[in-house]
């Protein structure tokens, strides 16, 4: 059983802002059925570029629901610029922390938010850069490198916890491990 804290439990059992929005200004969709979790985020944005309302639909585990609920609460009232700076850590912090194995739920929140904002701004969403390392979850080497650096991760397992890569069939774990190791070994030099 995951050691969810009271705040996470509360946001799972009493999620805020659930539901489809009738006329959303922007929608951000991430995840899929096969992935095991998915989030559809709806934003209502006013003329001056401020988020005035947010709702969500989530398929996923308790922390996916809680992260989505938290996200909608957090973004209400933010300008788009402010919202764009919001990170997965902010979401986890808002919930007083998530089990490390569940960090990918907060990452999903961050991704959905950025996707919604970019689509609203009309920014073309590019092909993901880099080469796909984890086919199960479509994660590229560049994404892995960024995640490892941003969150100071130590091994492939941590990577799975954050962005799922390696958490499916597992056949990419060794590749992830070697990416992490090469980053760790260069770290002392660059820092």
């Amino acid at each position: 059983m995951w050691e969810y804290n009271d705040k996470v439990k509360d946001h799972f059992l009493n999620p805020r802002n659930v539901g489809e929005m009738t006329e959303p200004s922007a929608v951000g969709e991430v995840g899929s059925l096969s992935c095991g979790d998915a989030l559809k985020l709806f934003l209502k944005i006013n003329k001056s570029g401020r988020i005035v309302d947010a709702t969500f639909m989530t398929f996923g585990c308790a922390s996916a629901v809680a992260s989505s609920s938290a996200l909608t609460e957090m973004v209400k009232g933010l300008t788009l610029d402010e919202a764009e700076k919001l990170t997965n850590d902010d979401i986890a912090d808002y919930l007083d922390g998530l089990p490390k194995e569940k960090m990918h739920c907060s990452v999903m929140g961050q991704d959905a938010l950025r996707k919604a904002i970019r689509s609203y701004k009309g920014i073309e969403i590019q092909e993901k850069p880099g080469n796909v390392v984890c086919e199960c979850f479509g994660v590229t080497d560049l994404e892995i490198i960024d995640t490892v650096k941003d969150n100071n991760l130590k091994n492939a397992e941590d990577v799975t916890f954050y962005i799922k890569a390696g958490g499916g069939c597992g056949k990419c774990v060794e590749k992830i491990e070697s990416i992490v190791e090469s980053l760790l070994s260069e770290a002392p030099v660059t820092q």
């Binding site: 059983m1 799972f12 095991g36 639909m57 996923g60 194995e101 979850f137 799975t160 958490g167």
Partner: protein, 387 residues
């Protein structure tokens, strides 16, 4: 809050009769059974009694039973012994839906030890592809390991038939009967092709941390745990006396409960299944219903995810398992459901109910009452639910 426990394929409660039988072996008759003093020696006799009872559950001889620390150890010990007895054979067979105790060992042997490993497929119902199996058995096959019944779906494999075929070809045959034992009758004398068979105590109301491995008399079994001369040199380590005594008692009880399993418990499971399918749209049973343990129901609810179902069930005091390997950090549905090609849509939302002889009709009705609103609540939140 009242707990309705329907997670008996994960683990069971220790039966009160079992615990009672164990108690004297902690602080009173605590001697070492290998000792020279009467005090220890009397414990040795009790162990022999437990060995006979454990053997009786599967109609084996007492000296064919080796006590181990769990089902996983039994599985590991059986496979490693087979390899040691056939050092020149480099091919291993098992099914695609085994417990990690076999599956991960095979993968280790494949990646680290250079063995060629075949995982025989199953179809959508979890039925083994016998044609494939029979076509890959060769002189080079060191062992075939096939679970008697699947822990997630309860699907029963044709162990007798395959064991027979293995024997004809001179291939060692092991079966992981951890889930089958105590739920369906097992008669090792009637399935003479079985060379080794694994049991685990905590699935049949003995404590966790005790298991047994049946090894056919004619086999000279090399020990997995190398140490002292316990278990006639087939497993080192001071005997876990209290738990061994408990396992003996549990096996005795299990024999007497087979009838109740087959009739009453099967009835409860069928009632639960029927009622849930009726009450909850877009739900479906995983696995072959014709050949299934009487206590197991694996049921998928479309468009929602298992962990959140379980946590809401937990709020209602209902204990069960999901069909995903979620606790392990993996997000994929279990390898069992994947091997059966259960669609993601229902695989992610699969719940396993597994009953024991302690379950009641009232408990089933409680579950039947509580589940529909739980499922609805999550579907109302799901982007994949077609309202």
């Amino acid at each position: 809050m009242k707990i309705v426990y329907t997670d008996n394929n994960a683990t069971t409660q220790v039966a009160p009769e079992v615990l009672e039988e164990m108690l004297p072996y902690f602080s009173e008759n605590y001697g070492n059974p290998s000792s020279m003093h009467t005090f220890g020696g009397s414990v040795g006799k009790k162990i022999q009694e437990a060995r006979a009872k454990t053997a009786a559950l599967i109609n084996a001889e007492p000296n064919e039973i080796i006590f181990t620390s769990c089902g996983t150890e039994s599985d590991n010990a059986a496979i490693m012994a087979a390899l040691e007895m056939n050092p020149e054979k480099k091919h291993l067979i098992t099914s695609a839906v085994e417990h990690p105790a076999i599956r991960n060992l095979y993968k280790y042997l494949e990646t680290k030890k250079g063995y060629q490993v075949s995982f025989v497929s199953v179809d959508e119902k979890g039925i083994l592809d016998l044609d494939m199996l029979y076509s890959i058995m060769t002189n080079n096959t060191a062992i075939i390991s096939l679970m008697w019944a699947n822990n997630e779906t309860g699907v029963i494999f044709p162990v007798e038939e395959v064991a027979q075929k293995s024997a004809e070809m001179g291939i060692l045959f092991h079966t992981d009967a951890v889930q089958a034992a105590g739920k369906i009758p097992i008669d090792i004398k009637k399935t003479s092709g079985v060379d080794m068979l694994s049991l685990s105590g905590h699935k049949i109301h003995a404590p966790k941390g005790i298991g047994a491995l049946y090894v056919k008399n004619s086999i000279k079994f090399p020990p997995f745990l190398k140490g002292g001369h316990q278990e006639k040199g087939r497993r080192g380590g001071t005997e876990n006396t209290a738990s061994i005594v408990g396992l003996g008692k549990a096996c005795e009880l299990a024999s007497t409960h087979l009838e109740d399993m087959d009739q009453r418990v099967r009835g409860l499971r069928d009632h639960l299944q029927k009622s849930l399918l009726e009450a909850i749209p877009a739900s479906s049973v995983n696995g072959d219903q014709a050949n299934r343990l009487p206590n197991t129901l694996s049921i998928g609810f479309n468009a929602i995810e298992g962990e959140s179902i379980l946590l809401l069930m937990d709020q209602a005091g209902i204990c069960a398992s999901s069909g995903s390997a979620c606790t392990s950090g993996s997000l994929d549905p279990s390898h069992v459901l994947m091997a059966m090609k259960v669609p993601f849509e229902s695989a992610h939302g699969t719940i396993r109910f597994s009953l024991s002889t302690y379950n009641t009709k009232e408990e089933m009705d409680y579950i039947i009452e509580k589940m529909p609103p739980i499922i609805k609540r999550l579907r109302d939140m799901s982007p994949f639910w077609n309202r």
